[in-house]
Symmetry: C2
């Protein structure tokens, strides 16, 4: 069996200039990065009178291995192209930390990948490096401001803006900086997050153009003064320098799928700590290039899709026209109580028990106005009986469903035809999209609404620090923005062990973090981490490069 | 008066494909990065039977503002091209930290610049980001190894490999990592250097190809075990992953000067802490493309040129065929005792007194076999009398000299003609190049040789820790490599205040750092810093970007 890197390398790559031409991108809008990657300047792409429709791919609560959401997104895009639709795929960029740690790669899988996978997985066009640089330039400028006299009166104990690195490095979670004497700065507690958890990443993905980016950067709160007034980037007068560091990165990246479908891979915030979807600039550009844009929201629908509806769709004209929920026989069995080491064995009873999880996700999407299409992402271990049973269950529930055999067949083959047909039918239906809550609602009430309506919790409980933060948020007039829930992706609850569709639980908000640049308030629940660690056997151990430059170990 | 960014933007850029064609680079060796930057795969460029000659540009001891060494390098390259020589310029890449801090840009100046300057100064093709990632991946893998059971028995108190960031951030010089409890790693002292001070940067610039890079990476010492045995990257088995992270960065970057001369801008180690010149891969590639390669060594000739001769020229076939020493009327006056705020006033007596500095540099270069050409880099404040006097002094000393008016006129104009003629004459002379010392000499003796022969010191004094380190170096069999002196660039001594040509002083070596991957031993003298800080008014404060993407404030 070929691995993802081998499949990717065996694929025939079209010159990216050809992909761009077929996508209708004017030549002067294209900036080449090697032969198979390019950046696209959206300002030089003409607006379409009838803009393309948006298909959002989300998923049921995942297993730790993931349910192949990116694979289905790529496969569905290819299948729609095969069905004669002008299609563009919009995906997040992979983060280097997890690539070196657990995953080895994050560009879809099997025959449904975006390529060249090794370049997309390693550095790509440098966007994450630019975001890391802008983040850390700001952090250095804050500490330097204090060192050089602290005109603004920043309280070093109340700096909230942390440094970042695109790496899994647990040793940097909690650090002390500025040691070594008065010439080396001010001693204070600090820490690094992974780059995808940076507010600059969120700002980058929500900005509609360079001016909007600059304004959002200016609004970022970096900390508080000795008398508890917020200090922003605008106070430091460095939003221009940060925007300058991001100006090229802000242009979406064009690559292709193995089947040759154009893909915009751009931005990549974590879906647990931020809103978790690719840049709105890329999705918006896709709507000017194609009839259909297929995009993906991170983690399960309780996290990624909810945020897509309540955060992303409010800042730009990218609201979904149809929603696909990826489900797998394996994940359903896991939610049905089957132990992880027995997921490869046929188990209809477990499968049936697990449907409670999928049902809740499907019903939740109804609250935003959607009748989603369930995509059953086929794994080689699925039995025909299990797949048939699941199709039957969907039909009984009145839910559209299709098997997606895109990992093995590729969307360029017939494996995604059924799903594409169901999605095209869904796109013909009228959708009355609406976010879950109005922005004018109080912050605690917004959180309570998400927790009750989407998670199925009885209520939310705020810690003492979170309650104090609520008061500060009101005092600063920051309450009229969406909430961004930071929660485990494995459960509807904030306890990763509560599988299926748990009932009678409470969500514990341990802290609230106002992200005044991104324009949302993060509610931290449970033990969500903003800097992952490496495993005992990191993927890096198997990686290498031959004398001719051929990479190995990325799979 | 136009600033550097305005001059750069007003220049006519040729498509980089045209520049590559005129340089004789085969089309399949070229990887475009936008319209005006490209990477060149040296493996796809044919070897020349008669390889180009190498002109090394160095300088007298500089003022804090610098003597325009890059400007003269670019101007001389342009002038050689204007004189009908097939010429390639090889330069270091700018570091983002100083760009945001003091300098605003580092790509030459006036009409002798490499362009597009804003792209070269900001991210460029991402090489420094790749080096930062490789460095920090290694650091994370070391801490993770300890966290996951520490099979190799690494002593957390004796980890010598530090993290890096391409930023001026003094708060990160001395930090404590791993705080927060047993799940967050092991508490230990650590710190960040600026990326250009990373051993990975030195390895990158000295590697002759990807296999040599991998071997050098494998040999890097990251720390010591509990029983004081060195631990290398090979022990951690991650040289393959690090090489993979660097494989694209290792291809030299092609840009152009304002006059259209091809320039390879690649790699950029600090000349105080490392060997301080661009990658040997780039210089070597230049020798296969052109009759003359003009390259630059960092800081004054006591640092950059000495290291070019004793380190760089030993690892690859890039020994200089001629040497240019940049001198300025301003710097000579400063070394002659004129206070900094009066350097703009005519002062022949000060000028004369300052020649002692230049004389020592010229004589030093003779010890390597060279009769250098002095390039008088004209500043607008220089009087005709001062310049004439200086030319006369050079003639009296028997030193070739020429005025380089390349900042104002550009090397494309006649401002560099005289210098080019002198350099071409120098290239016709026979050179008996030799390094200063043989590798078999003991480490202390090598250091003593450099400080006596080049700096003019009476002797060297080793601190107690340095003496202990000398024993360790011998015990580990690491002594047969060159030494890499880390010293202030402002003085021949280790005291920045001792200007001119000081006598009767001692050099204090406070520590020795074996860089087993780069293949040299760093001798730290005085108070050399490996992580700069930002000034009170960082250049970042004036930077910005317009709605159409036009940058401002980079000058």
């Amino acid at each position: 069996m070929a691995n993802d890197l081998e499949i990717s390398r065996a694929a025939t790559l079209q010159p990216i200039t050809d992909v761009a031409r077929s996508a209708g991108i004017p030549e002067d809008a294209l900036e080449l990065y090697g032969r198979y990657k390019a950046k696209v300047n959206p300002a030089l792409v003409p607006r379409r009178a009838e803009r393309g429709k948006v298909v959002l791919v989300t998923a049921m609560s995942p297993t730790p291995a993931g349910e192949g959401k990116s694979t289905v997104t790529v496969g569905l895009g290819d299948a729609l192209a095969r069905a004669g639709q002008k299609t563009v795929i919009a995906l997040r960029e992979p983060s280097l930390g997890p690539v070196l740690g657990m995953k080895g790669g994050a560009t879809g899988g099997g025959y449904s990948q975006v390529i060249p996978m090794e370049e997309i997985n390693l550095h790509f066009t440098g966007d994450f490096h630019a975001i890391t640089s802008a983040n850390n330039a700001l952090a250095a400028l804050v500490d330097n401001h204090i060192f050089q006299g602290n005109e603004l009166g920043i309280d070093p104990r109340r700096i909230t803006f942390r440094r970042v690195m695109d790496m899994n490095d647990r040793s940097l979670r909690h650090i002390v900086v500025g040691l070594g004497g008065p010439g080396q700065g001010t001693v204070r507690e600090d820490g690094f997050d992974i780059t995808v958890a940076s507010e600059i990443m969120a700002v980058f993905c929500l900005a509609t153009d360079i001016e909007d980016l600059t304004s959002r950067l200016a609004r970022i709160t970096v900390g508080y003064t000795w008398d508890r007034k917020p200090v922003t980037v605008a106070d430091l007068r460095v939003q221009g320098a940060l925007a300058l560091l991001l100006k090229d990165a802000l242009k979406p990246n064009l690559v292709q799928t193995i089947a040759g479908t154009p893909a915009l891979v751009h931005g990549g915030p974590f879906a647990n700590i931020a809103h978790g979807c690719n840049s709105v600039i890329a999705t918006s550009l896709g709507r000017d290039l194609a009839d259909v844009v297929v995009t993906e929201a991170g983690f399960g629908a309780d996290l990624g899709a909810e945020k897509y509806m309540d955060i992303t769709s409010r800042v730009a004209d990218v609201a979904p026209d149809a929603v696909v929920v990826v489900a797998t026989v394996r994940a359903l069995k896991m939610h049905g109580g089957v132990p992880r080491e027995r997921l490869d064995e046929p188990n209809l009873a477990g499968l049936e028990a697990g449907t409670a999880n999928l049902r809740r996700h499907v019903r939740n999407l109804g609250k935003f106005g959607f009748s989603p299409v369930v995509a059953i992402n086929r794994f080689t271990t699925d039995t025909p009986e299990e797949v048939e049973w699941l199709l039957g269950w969907c039909s009984q529930e009145g839910v559209d469903a299709a098997v997606a055999d895109v990992w093995a067949q590729g969307g360029g083959g017939p494996g995604g035809d059924d799903l594409a047909a169901k999605v095209l039918a869904a796109l013909k239906r009228n959708v009355d999209f609406q976010p879950l809550y109005p922005l004018q609602m109080g912050v605690a009430e917004k959180i309570r609404t998400v927790v009750r309506e989407i998670y199925g919790a009885d209520d939310v409980e705020f810690s003492v620090p979170a309650l104090r933060r609520l008061e500060e948020i009101e005092a600063n007039g920051w309450e009229n923005v969406p909430v961004c829930m930071a929660k485990t992706q494995y459960s509807f609850s904030d306890d990763a062990a509560k599988l299926g569709a748990p009932e009678g639980f409470t969500i514990h908000v341990r802290d609230l973090v106002p992200k005044t640049g991104a324009g949302f308030i993060v509610a931290l629940t449970g033990a969500v981490m903003t800097m992952p660690g490496l495993p005992k056997q990191p993927a890096a151990l198997r990686m290498g490069v031959a004398a001719d430059g051929t990479p190995s170990g990325l799979f």
